[in-house]
Amino acid sequence: MAYEPYTRDYDETYDEPTSKTDVPYNPMFVPDSVKTFVVILYRHIREKNVYEIYQMYEGSFHKLSERLFKDCPWPSVEAIAPHVDNDHVFCLLYQEMWYRHLYARLSPTLQHRIESWDNYCNLFQVVLHGVVNMQLPNQWLWDMIDEFIYQFQSFCQYRAKLKNKTDQEIALLRQYDQVWNVYGVFNFLQALVEKSMIIQILEQEKEGLEQFTATDGYDYNGGSNVLKVLGYFSIVGLLRVHCLLGDYYTGLKCLAPIDISQPGVYTSVIGSHITTIYHYGFANLMLRRYVEAIREFNKVLLYIMKNKQYHQKSPQFDQILKKNEQMYALLAVCLSLCPQVKLIEENVNNQLREKYGDKMLRMQRYDDEAYSLYDEAFSYACPKFITPSAPIYEEPLVNYNQDGYRLQLKLFLYEVKQQQLLSGIRSFLKLYTTISISKLASFMEVDEPTLRTILMTYKHKTHSVDNDGKIVSNADIEFYVNEDIVHVVESKSAKQYGDHFMRQIIKFEEIIGELDRVKMD
C-alpha cells in the first residue's frame, strides 16, 4: 500500500465555502421529513427510549442528510424549534448535530466556528449544571466529545494559517480570542470529569459498590446517563488533547482511571475504542514503551479485523479504516525499533507483512532510505498536532500550523537515529551464545570502547521506566557481559502454558458436566 502524503483534515482542502446547489438554501424551510424527524426524536428523548433514539440518530439522521442535505446545511434551529416546544436542551443538541454535519460536508466559516463553540459552551454548561434529565446513546455522547476535540484541533489549524487571512478574519480572531481557547477546552473536559464524579465511580465499581461498566453507563433507575458518560469519554478526550500537544506522559496519566486491559464503556462505541487505543499506543511509542504499544495495537487491530464488517454502513466506517491503516504503520514502526514479533497474532502479522513487510526490512538498515521510511510512516500515522497558542498579530503573519508536527517528527527521528546501531548488534547477537567484545567489535567495524557503548545503548533503549519508576524490559535479546565476553541467553519461547492448561481443565470439566446430564435411555 502506498503512503498518502501528509495531509491535514478535510476542512483544509476547502478554503472557501462553496455553494454547490442551484436552489438557494433557505434556513427557515423545514421539509416534512425533517419535521417528522425532529418531532419523533424529541418524543423518544422525552420518553427515554434509548433504542429508538439510537436508530434515529445513527440511521435516520444520516439518511436524511444523504438525501436532502448533501451540500447544504440542515434547517436552522429557529425553524425547527416550534416543532419541539422550543425545548432548550433539544435545540442545543440539534445545533450540535447541525454544526457536525456542516463540518463534515461543507466548510465552516470563521463565523460558524465561533457559533459552534458557543453552542458547546451552552450545551456543556447545561449538562454541568445537572439540569439534563435525558438518557442518550453512548454513540451520541462519544460523538459529542470526539467532535468537540476535532473542532478544537481544526480551529487551531485554521488559526495558525495566517498567510491567507483577510483583514476581516484577523479582526474577528482578535475580537473573539476566547473562542476555542485551549484553557476553555481543557476546563470543559476537566469539569465534565470532575462534576460527573466518574473517577470515583470507576474506583467504587472495583469494590462492587457501583455499577457503571455492567450497564454500559446507562441509568436504569430513572436517572440520566448524560453527565456520567460525557465525563467518562472526557477522560479519553483529555488523553487525545494532550497527545495533540505532545504531552504524552500527562495524557496517559489522564487515562489511568480507565483500565484498558479490559473491555469497558470505552469499547462500547467502536470510535471511542479505536481513538483510545490509537492514542494510548502512540503515547507509549513516544515514551519508548514499545512492548506496551505493540500489545495494544495488536489487540485492537485484531478486533477491527473481526468486527469491521458490522460497521460498513456506519458513518464512521471511513474513519475506522483510516485509523486501522495508521495503526498498522505505527505497529511497523514499533516492531522495527523493537522486533518482538512473537507478540503479534498471526492474522495481524499476515496483514502487517502484506502492507509493510518490505518496508520493515528496509527500515532495519538505518541508511538514508530507512530514515525516509520512518519519516513517511510517522507522518502518515501521527495525530494532527496543534500549536495551542494564539498568533502574535503584531509580527509578520506566517503560517505556523505545521510547527507541532515538525517538532514531534524531528524528535522522533532523533530517537530513531540514537538506535541506529542496535539492529546491527541484534543480528550478530542472534548468532552467538558467547562472543568476545573484540570479535564483535570487528564485526561491527567499530573499536572496543564504542562497542561497549552500543551494548549499553541497547540495554538502555530496551529497558523503559514505568510511571512508578520500575524498570520494564522490552528486550528481544537477553545478554550480559562478563569482563570481555558477551553471553547471550537464549530466550525460550515464553509461552504461558499455565493459562492454556487452566482453560482446558475448565473446558473439560464443562464437557464432563454436559455428559453427566445426558440421560441414556
Binding site: 476546563n187 500537544l245 504531552d247 497558542s389 538502555h460 524498570i471 557481559v481 530466550s491
Partner: protein, 231 residues
C-alpha cells in the same frame, strides 16, 4: 453559646502538588510553578508533573516563557535518566527555543547519555559548567545513571570501563569502590591479568536466568477458578 472569637483567618498555603491537582489548566499557578522549580533545584527534589505542567502553560502562552527556568527544568530532566523525562520536556518546547545555544548544548549532553557515550558526555559537561553546575547534585545523578546502565549490561565490569562511565579515577575511585562494597554489595575481583574487575549486584537484567523463573507463574486468581473442580 460562646462568642466566636475573631481570629484573623490564617491563609492556609496550598502545596504546589495541590495546586496542580486542582487547577492543572489554570494560568494563574504559573508563578508558583516557577518558584517551585527553584525550590526543586535548591532542595534537590524533583517533580516531573509540576515541571510538565509549567512547560504546558508556557506552550499555551509563549510570551510568558522564562528561558532560564526552562533550562533548569531540562537539567533536572537529564538528572532523571534513565527515565525519558528529557524527551518529554523537549516535546513541549518550541523548536525555535531549542535552537538557543544552551539548549543545543543540553541536547548534545542528552544524546551522549542516551547512547551511553560517557567519555564524551563528561568532556562536554566540563566545557559547560555554567549550565549544569548551577543545579546541585548533577554529577552524582549522572553517575547513578551510568551505574544503572552498567548494571543492566555487566555482571563483571573492568575497572577502566567503570572509571570512564562515572568519571572517577585513581584514589577517588578506590574510595568510591570501598563505599560501594560496604553499602551496595559490590565485589572486587582480580581480572584476567589486567587489573581489577567489579562484580555488580545481580538483577534480572544482567542475570536473565533470574527472570525466567518468574515468567511462567499463574496468578492466584486464575487458580481459584479451578478450585471447585479440584475439590
Amino acid at each position: 453559646m460562646g462568642r466566636e472569637r475573631e481570629t484573623p483567618r490564617q491563609q492556609v498555603p496550598y502545596t504546589v502538588e495541590q495546586l496542580i491537582a486542582v487547577n492543572p489548566y489554570n494560568p494563574d499557578i504559573l508563578p508558583d510553578l516557577e518558584a517551585y522549580i527553584h525550590e526543586q533545584v535548591s532542595s534537590q527534589t524533583y517533580n516531573l508533573d509540576a515541571n510538565l505542567c509549567l512547560l504546558r502553560l508556557y506552550q499555551f502562552e509563549p510570551g510568558r516563557m522564562n528561558i532560564q527556568i526552562v533550562a533548569r527544568i531540562l537539567v533536572k530532566a537529564l538528572m532523571a535518566m534513565p527515565a525519558p523525562d528529557f524527551s518529554l520536556c523537549l516535546f513541549l518546547i518550541p523548536e525555535r527555543v531549542q535552537m538557543e545555544e544552551q539548549f543545543k548544548t543540553l541536547i548534545v549532553l542528552s544524546h551522549y547519555l542516551e547512547t551511553a557515550r560517557f567519555r564524551q558526555f563528561w568532556d562536554e559537561a566540563a566545557k559547560n559548567r555554567s549550565i549544569v553546575e548551577v543545579v546541585p547534585g548533577f554529577e552524582q545523578a549522572i553517575q547513578e545513571y551510568a551505574i544503572h546502565a552498567l548494571s543492566l549490561t555487566y555482571q563483571k565490569v573492568p575497572r577502566p570501563v567503570l572509571a570512564e562511565a562515572i568519571n572517577i579515577e585513581g584514589l577517588s575511585l578506590d574510595k568510591f569502590l570501598e563505599h560501594q562494597v560496604t553499602h551496595s554489595g559490590w565485589v572486587l575481583e582480580k581480572g584476567h591479568g589486567r587489573g581489577q574487575l567489579i562484580v555488580l549486584p545481580r538483577n534480572e537484567f544482567n542475570h536473565p536466568d533470574l527472570k525466567k523463573n518468574a515468567a511462567d507463574t499463574i496468578p492466584l486468581e486464575h487458580v481459584t477458578r479451578i478450585f471447585p473442580i479440584l475439590s
